[in-house]
Symmetry: C2
Subunit: 241 residues, 2 copies
């Protein structure tokens, strides 16, 4: 089950959180940052494979990933499902549900994770005397829209190898922004999950990884990846064929 962890005096707060430069507080003054400390009064532990929320659940909060990795996915009646995003620490999930105040996707942990619960009521209240929070929240929503549109481009007009190359580079950059190595990392998702995200079958993903490795672009052993020739990888989707 999901474990709830109350935030106490001694817990880390927004003002002291290492994710600050990636999360809601981006660009806030020290003064504003201190006001943020009342925003999150609860955190939730989500173990690998557990679900944070499901499509249709009433939305009372959005969630900032504190550590771990989540996936968001939508499912059709006939069982087909599509992963709409992988979410790293500092990213917000649940934004797609604010319109109807009920979640428009499922969110599941790919590894043990912890999220900060950002109650929508608190968010609204605090936004009143913290315009920078308002602005920052809009900015995050807007970024989500433009990222989804890049993904639409990827699914709509790129070939399989271009999609996978773009995926690797995107992941690399996001990990790098979080202080991890940009050239060597562990995939938290299966071939099937990568395939679902990229609109491909798991066998195709596997074959492409093998081909990339053969071409000397990457090394891959199970879920451990090393990017060898970053320029070469980028060329796959940059070449003006």
């Amino acid at each position: 089950m999901l474990t709830s962890i109350p935030v106490t005096e001694i817990s880390p707060r927004c003002s002291t959180c290492g994710m600050g430069q990636l999360c809601l507080p981006v660009g806030m003054s020290q003064q504003d940052l201190l006001k943020m400390d009342t925003l999150v009064q609860e955190r939730v532990r989500v173990h690998k494979g557990e679900t944070l929320y499901r499509m249709g659940d009433p939305l009372t909060a959005v969630y900032a990933v504190r550590f771990g990795t989540l996936k968001t996915h939508v499912t059709l009646e006939d069982g087909r499902s599509q992963i709409t995003g992988f979410h790293l620490p500092g990213e917000i999930v649940g934004l797609d549900g604010l319109g109807e105040m009920q979640h428009a996707s499922d969110a599941t942990a790919l590894e043990d994770a912890e999220v900060c619960v950002v109650r929508f009521s608190e968010l609204q209240a605090l936004s009143g005397d913290l315009p920078s929070l308002q602005t920052q929240f809009l900015r995050l929503m807007s970024k989500e829209i433009s990222q989804d549109q890049v993904m639409l481009m990827t699914l709509g007009s790129m070939r399989a190898e271009e999609r996978l190359a773009a995926f690797l580079v995107n992941l690399s950059e996001r990990l790098s922004a979080r202080g991890y190595s940009s050239s060597e990392f562990v995939l938290r998702m299966s071939r099937e999950e990568i395939g679902s995200y990229l609109g491909l079958k798991l066998e195709t993903v596997s074959r492409l990884f093998s081909r990339f490795a053969e071409a000397g672009l990457i090394q891959i052993r199970q879920r451990h990846v090393k990017l060898i020739d970053m320029a070469g990888i980028k060329q796959i989707y940059n070449r003006s064929c």
Copy 2:
């Protein structure tokens, strides 16, 4: 060129605009609605084929479609481009650029159109003492995210005929909400544009239209469509194959 039309005393305003129940003012009290009248101080006429904004342009406003149809599209360096949305009256375009305050896509008119210019500075100012505007704006952004995610699902896991059927139904519903016939309408976009949006080639779109017509699901002559068997069309993408 784009024609700017100042909003004067006698111009239609938000409080009297027929699009009210679809646009920013949704669900506002009469009192709030009157405050909205200061929000839009300019409208812009965009003729068929003209561009409202381009990717990279600094963003100073978002735009509410008043009449006509727009498309938004993103382009890669190599020239490939993807249509990310078709926008009908009452819908807001430009939301994807708020994150960086510069536009993340191009917006082009498919037919002569007019948009209300919603300056971001005005929006922020007015949001201060009009919380319902704030809420409504968040709601619209959130809907855009969840719509994009439905589109990701469509591109990532549906077959060609399912995509086209879903497209027709979606368009039908949106036209219906605007007071037009849900069963008979004119496509404002070419086969190629439909194909770009759905991740298909124009020949595929054309063939599918012909097949749908042969199956008695629709009638189609150039851009004039009549949906004959709505249940049958929905079955194409609902059947639990």
